[in-house]
Symmetry: C2
Subunit: 211 residues, 2 copies
């Protein structure tokens, strides 16, 4: 197991997915966020990572976890400072809402480069693997551009892991359609059980919910 | 040049990008659509394809072109029937609005499989490579699922080319932000010249236009 790569999965069960508030109750958002985290953790395991939750409160899951209730960027940077990633000991940071992430897609993070970035839709950064002790994250705004800059500033080489499956984070109503079209895990099952179905109009597909 | 793969690029200069009507005039939409097509054609060339426009009207470009003013699905299926793709003679169909497509991402289409699909955001299909004479397309609604089914129906093996850069078609205002963040070709230059800049709020980034 010595070539397993540690992967932190930031997870905030206490403030789940506020941009889904128009379609899901707070309790439902919590349940759905849990289902997505289950899928991400399983895909990481299957891809040869050692996943570990970086949670804002204890989750009770059977997975190693660090509890840190600070905002996302601060908590991740504290972990990066603490662990000092290196080529011999890389560290990945993978968002818990990548409901489509497959082992194959996650494996791409392990390609060469001091810093490997998987961009998210909308200018974000959905996953990072760093082998450089000085690289830090900043998840505000168009974080992908900030991360390119941050990597260059510390002299790190950067590569993109180009993956639609890693680019799709699930934040808004239309993102649920992606899970129904392409998902095959706990998050897809959760949505189906909750009555969601695809609504294919003329443009991008969306979802409807059975009453 | 014998291992170059033919790639059809459907292009409708006469009805450009209606969902961008709230940010661009008709003439601007035409100009921007042209810039995106320029980027796609160049990336295909660099990836070892022989691109050919399948245009609704003559474009005057220095690229082989077939003019067919029927709707997209009909025109593409006529070309598929006419060319009868095979393992020795595959045919790709790549949308003209994939402004982020790089040669490397497009190369993924050439992987194994009778039918290789690159999904688009929103359940669509942004690129296909087929080596099977009976596979046909249907671009309405959630076409990705329809294409999986269509491939299975003719006994074709299917593979996904998992790429964010191929998944990003540019249809709506927020998609322009993707071009400003990740693009580096004619489409990005066109947007900058037209005064567009990134607007990074708290969620996904969008664009603003200088007056």
């Amino acid at each position: 197991m010595s070539d397993r790569v540690d992967a932190l999965v930031p997870f905030a069960p206490d403030r789940p997915k506020t941009r889904l508030a128009d379609v899901l109750t707070p309790a439902e958002r919590r349940g759905f966020a849990n289902a997505m985290a289950t899928d991400v953790l399983a895909a990481l395991e299957a891809a040869g990572f050692s996943p570990e939750l970086l949670a804002t409160e204890p989750t009770g899951r059977d997975v190693p976890e660090t509890v840190d209730d600070r905002p996302l960027t601060e908590a991740v940077n504290a972990a990066l400072a603490d662990r000092a990633p290196s080529p011999a000991s890389p560290l990945a940071v993978v968002m818990a809402d990548l409901a489509l992430a497959t082992p194959r897609a996650l494996s791409r993070l392990r390609g060469s480069g001091d810093v490997v970035l998987a961009a998210g839709t909308g200018g974000g950064t959905n996953a990072v693997l760093t082998r450089h002790p000085a690289f830090r994250v900043d998840y505000h705004g168009a974080s992908y551009l900030d991360h390119l800059r941050a990597a260059r500033d510390v002299g790190a080489t950067v590569r993109e892991a180009d993956s639609r499956l890693l680019a799709t984070d699930v934040d808004e109503r239309d993102d649920l359609a992606e899970v129904l079209v392409h998902g095959d895990g706990a998050a897809r099952d959760w949505l189906r059980d909750a009555g969601f179905e695809l609504d294919a109009g003329d443009g991008r597909v969306s979802v409807v919910r059975e009453e």
